[in-house]
């Protein structure tokens, strides 16, 4: 309305100026933008591939892309039309450290950046992520604790499984398996299936119908041995009644919390080795494979010749390496002999004690290292399939 009152006032002036009838030219107003990237600390050398910054103006939907060829001077000065932009950077970065090479995604995003003046600035934090990310073991607490009286306390062990991907994943049906073989005792198992499958006699499964237990990116679930408040019995322990699931242990040591969903015992009773001689995998069967069929088709009988020449045979299940989403080898430096997983699953191992029966191992876990943190605070954990590098050994348990 105000403009119309002004119209009356300008009408006369318009009459005087309209005679020119000039056709004014449409000029897109632009801004010189100083775009700065906050680059995460990268150890080792790296090469970049297909690294581009994309500017999407959300009013018009117009997108333009500018390549980035160097991170040593992490800034760009594009000229952009005024608008509101979603600025994203994405590309591949191959990092080589200590002879190991792995390719990550280098990403960054800043949304709703208003460019409204002739010069403006924006800052985008970059982070690394693993394109093959999935569920991972964030932490394995396998040592247990000791009471103030110095007695071993075993029921408070746990796993923390973390969604390290960019998508919501479902925990339903995940298998957690403990290796049948010890990393401290290398044998020539026959038949040798190490490069095809992981051998286990103790397997539990997370229940669910398929989409019953969603885990958002950056969220985690806790699978406790006994999901109770252990502090009531051992002041040195933790309150695990907050666990999402609990494992049904041997009846002699099992304490059931009816408020916490039990895992399904697939094979044996999971008894986590408190010196860390056994390894663990997370696996998921294909959708078209039922657990019963898998069990009937993957029974594995193996044997080995002992130092006395005696042949020992045993039974277990073989979990195809193709089904395994994460693997963590554990051992102790003093006794380590071999990896019980195929090296493509895990080419290292972590620990919570340096010697066999190390009395200082209690109350310590293996905890995965943080790789990067996204702009919205989501933590991305390192997962190079090398537990030696990916884990912090002898870490303080996060639930304590």
């Amino acid at each position: 309305m105000k403009r119309n009152i002004l119209s009356a006032a300008t009408l006369l002036g318009l009459a005087l100026t309209f005679g020119g009838c000039a056709k004014d030219v449409l000029n897109e107003p632009t801004s010189q933008v100083n775009l700065v990237f906050d680059v995460p600390e990268i150890s080792g050398t790296y090469t970049l591939k297909s690294l581009n910054v994309t500017f999407q103006e959300i009013n018009s939907g117009i997108t333009q892309t500018i390549p980035v060829i160097d991170l040593s001077n992490p800034s760009l000065q594009p000229t952009l039309a005024l608008g509101t932009y979603n600025i994203s950077l994405e590309g591949d970065i191959t990092i080589t450290e200590n002879g190991n090479t792995k390719t990550y995604k280098l990403q960054g995003i800043k949304e709703n950046v208003v460019i409204s003046s002739a010069s403006s600035g924006a800052r985008v934090s970059l982070f690394l992520s693993d394109p093959a990310a999935n569920f991972i073991f964030k932490e394995i607490f396998f040592t247990g604790t000791v009471t103030p009286e110095g007695k071993a306390y075993n029921g408070d062990k746990y796993f923390i499984i973390y969604n390290n991907s960019l998508d919501t994943l479902y925990a339903d049906g995940l298998l957690i398996a403990q290796s049948a073989f010890l990393t401290t005792a290398k044998r020539e198992y026959t038949p040798d299936i190490l490069n095809e499958a992981f051998t286990s006699q103790q397997i539990v499964k997370i229940p669910g119908t398929g989409k019953q237990y969603p885990v958002a990116p950056g969220d985690q679930i806790v699978i406790a041995n006994n999901a109770i408040n252990h502090k009531e019995y051992n002041i040195n322990s933790a309150d695990l009644s907050i666990a999402d699931f609990e494992i049904e242990l041997l009846s002699s040591i099992n304490v059931d919390n009816p408020a916490v969903q039990n895992t399904i015992s697939v094979s044996g009773n999971m008894t986590m080795h408190n010196r860390g001689f056994q390894s663990y995998v997370l696996a998921r069967l294909p959708e078209n494979v039922s657990l019963d069929n898998w069990k009937s088709e993957n029974r594995y009988t193996y044997s080995y010749v002992g130092t006395t020449g005696r042949v020992t045979a045993a039974d277990g299940y073989k979990i195809s390496n193709d089904y395994i989403v994460d693997a963590v080898n554990l051992s102790v430096e003093e006794s380590y002999e071999w990896l019980v997983t195929a090296p493509q699953l895990d080419m290292g191992w972590s620990y919570a004690g340096r010697t066999n029966s190390d009395a200082t191992r209690y109350g310590k876990s293996v905890l995965r290292k943080v790789l990067s943190t996204t702009a919205d605070g989501r933590v991305i954990y390192q997962d190079t399939n090398n537990s030696t590098k990916d884990f912090i050994p002898e870490a303080k348990p996060t639930l304590f």
Binding site: N4, L11, C21, N59, L82
Partner: protein, 506 residues
């Protein structure tokens, strides 16, 4: 464009049939005064209220019912392929004491607008190009009410005129997508005329028009909803404002408000002499949606027109020559928005306006009328237009220059006491310098089809022919019923039109 003009002319002609006098000769004179194309031309060029004292020499009142339809096979998707109208019109013009004229009218139309796409609004010409749109569209049912009147009073050498009109439209569709549109136009006009010597009159008029439209688009079916666009240019839309509105909205809303100021200066001969006219007008408009409390578009539409002509009247013969230059400059701007978490602001916050739309048009018209007004009239008109339309982002440019040549002939036949009017018109359009560039548009998309289709329609070159027959029966009791038949056809766009009106003059 041609069809619109002739529908308008047809309505004018049909609605101005009748008078309330006693003698046959006077009735016939008034009838011709209402219908002769040179009289219509006179009223259109001398269209200020203070000049309406001279529009008619006799009183008249008319009531009529009509059925009109037209359809096109090639058409602007946003205007639709045709219309079917049922109309009721009542008008009167009374001259009191030779120094006071009063007039009034009441019109009602029930319309069905056919096959409209990418425009879920009413009143195409008021809000173009800022439609609330989807790719589905469909037929639109519409009711239109128009009331108004005015008076002109002579005070010595001065004549003062005022008039006001109210138009209310409602449009809706009862299947998805379901628009419910309501628009109101208030048009207030004032003018003053003064005799200059014995032969000329100088007139000055000021008009103000307020227009608003509220559009609500909803769906009953939860499945298969098309995207809702807020168009802000020729086939361009805001990505951010696409959709129904803030999260949880079940309706898309759009609100338009336009204000127009127009000044007119006329130098007109009482009988013969030089005619000159200047018009300057500015229309400004805003569009709001439920995405934000702030306007998402606004435009300024400026028009400047100069008419120069010469009129020569003999006893029964006349000729009129008129040249017109009409120049139009329209500029539009889009709001630039960012997302905000506050729902109080509608979900988006405007931080700047970006000048983004231009429309330039210049129209040069030469008109020659001649004839003996109570028997036959003829009109030759040549109109050359230059149009250019631009949108900045993504940049697109369209320019086209149509040349229209039309010939109209009219004959009044006396049949006993009755009168038969025959009007024939033939017109041809050619296009010069048609260029377009659409950048960054997926021409395989529905938006791309819209652009291509509408462009093809704009540069069509039809030959148009129309005939109108009107038979007026003199009942010798002051009442004169009439029947009017109108039919027309245009090539290329395959326009066919038909109208039948019956009414009573008294």
């Amino acid at each position: 464009m041609l069809s619109k003009k002739y529908i308008f002319l047809g309505c004018c002609i049909s609605s101005l049939a009748g008078y309330a006098q006693d003698s046959l000769s006077v009735k016939n004179d008034v009838y011709i005064e209402r219908h002769a194309i040179n009289s219509v031309f006179y009223r259109e060029t001398n269209n200020l209220s203070s000049l309406k004292l001279r529009h008619y020499s006799q009183n008249y009142t008319t009531v009529q019912f009509g059925y009109d339809q037209y359809s096109k096979k090639k058409y602007d998707w946003q205007e639709g392929s045709g219309e079917r109208d049922l109309t009721f019109q009542s008008e009167t013009h009374q001259i009191l004491n030779n120094d006071l004229a009063v007039w009034g009218k009441a019109h009602f139309k029930s319309k069905q607008l056919k096959d409209i796409r990418f425009n879920e609004n009413l009143d195409y010409n008021q809000i173009y190009p800022y439609f609330l749109a989807d790719s589905v569209g469909g037929d639109l049912q519409m009711e239109s009410y128009n009331f108004g009147g005015g008076l002109a009073k002579s005070l010595d050498k001065w004549v003062i005129g005022i008039e006001g009109y109210l138009t209310a439209n409602q449009g809706y569709r009862k299947i998805d997508p379901r628009p419910l549109n309501k628009s109101t136009t208030i048009d207030l006009r004032g003018s003053v005329s003064r005799d200059v010597g014995n032969d000329y009159t100088l007139s000055l008029g000021i008009d103000y028009e307020f227009y608003k439209q509220t559009s609500r688009l909803s769906f009953v079916s939860l499945l298969g909803r098309p995207l809702i666009f807020n168009l802000n240019g020729p086939g361009v839309f805001s990505n951010l404002l696409t959709g129904m509105g803030p999260s949880g909205s079940s309706q898309a809303l759009a609100y338009y408000e336009n204000n127009t100021l127009r000044g007119t200066l006329i130098w007109s001969p009482k009988k013969s002499g030089v005619f000159a006219k200047g018009i300057i007008a500015q229309r400004v408009g805003d569009k709001y949606t439920n995405h934000s409390n702030e306007s998402i578009n606004f435009f300024t539409d400026e028009q400047f027109q100069v008419d120069l002509g010469y009129i020569k009247q003999y006893d029964t013969w006349y000729w009129k020559a008129m040249s017109t230059w009409n120049s139009r400059r329209m500029s539009g701007a889009d709001g630039l928005f960012s997302t905000v978490s506050s729902s109080a602001s509608g979900g988006y916050e405007k931080f700047a306006d970006r000048s983004s739309y231009r429309y330039f048009a210049d129209r040069y018209v030469g008109t020659l009328l001649f004839g003996t007004s109570n028997i036959w009239n003829a009109q030759v008109e040549v109109a050359y237009q230059e149009h250019q339309e631009q949108y900045i982002s993504p940049f697109r440019n369209m320019s086209w220059s149509p040349l229209d040549i039309s010939l109209t002939a009219q004959y009044f036949y006396q049949h006993h006491n009755n009168r038969l009017e025959t009007t024939v018109q033939v017109a041809k359009r050619t296009i010069h310098d048609a260029n377009y560039s659409f950048s960054n548009v997926n021409l395989a998309s529905e938006i791309g089809h819209l652009l291509n289709n509408n462009w093809d329609y704009r540069i069509s070159k039809p030959i148009f022919a129309e005939m109108q027959l009107q038979y007026l029966i003199n009942l010798n009791n002051g009442k004169m019923p009439f029947v009017k038949l109108n039919a027309g056809y245009a090539s290329e766009v395959e326009l066919s039109k038909f109208a039948l009106h019956v009414g009573l003059n008294f």
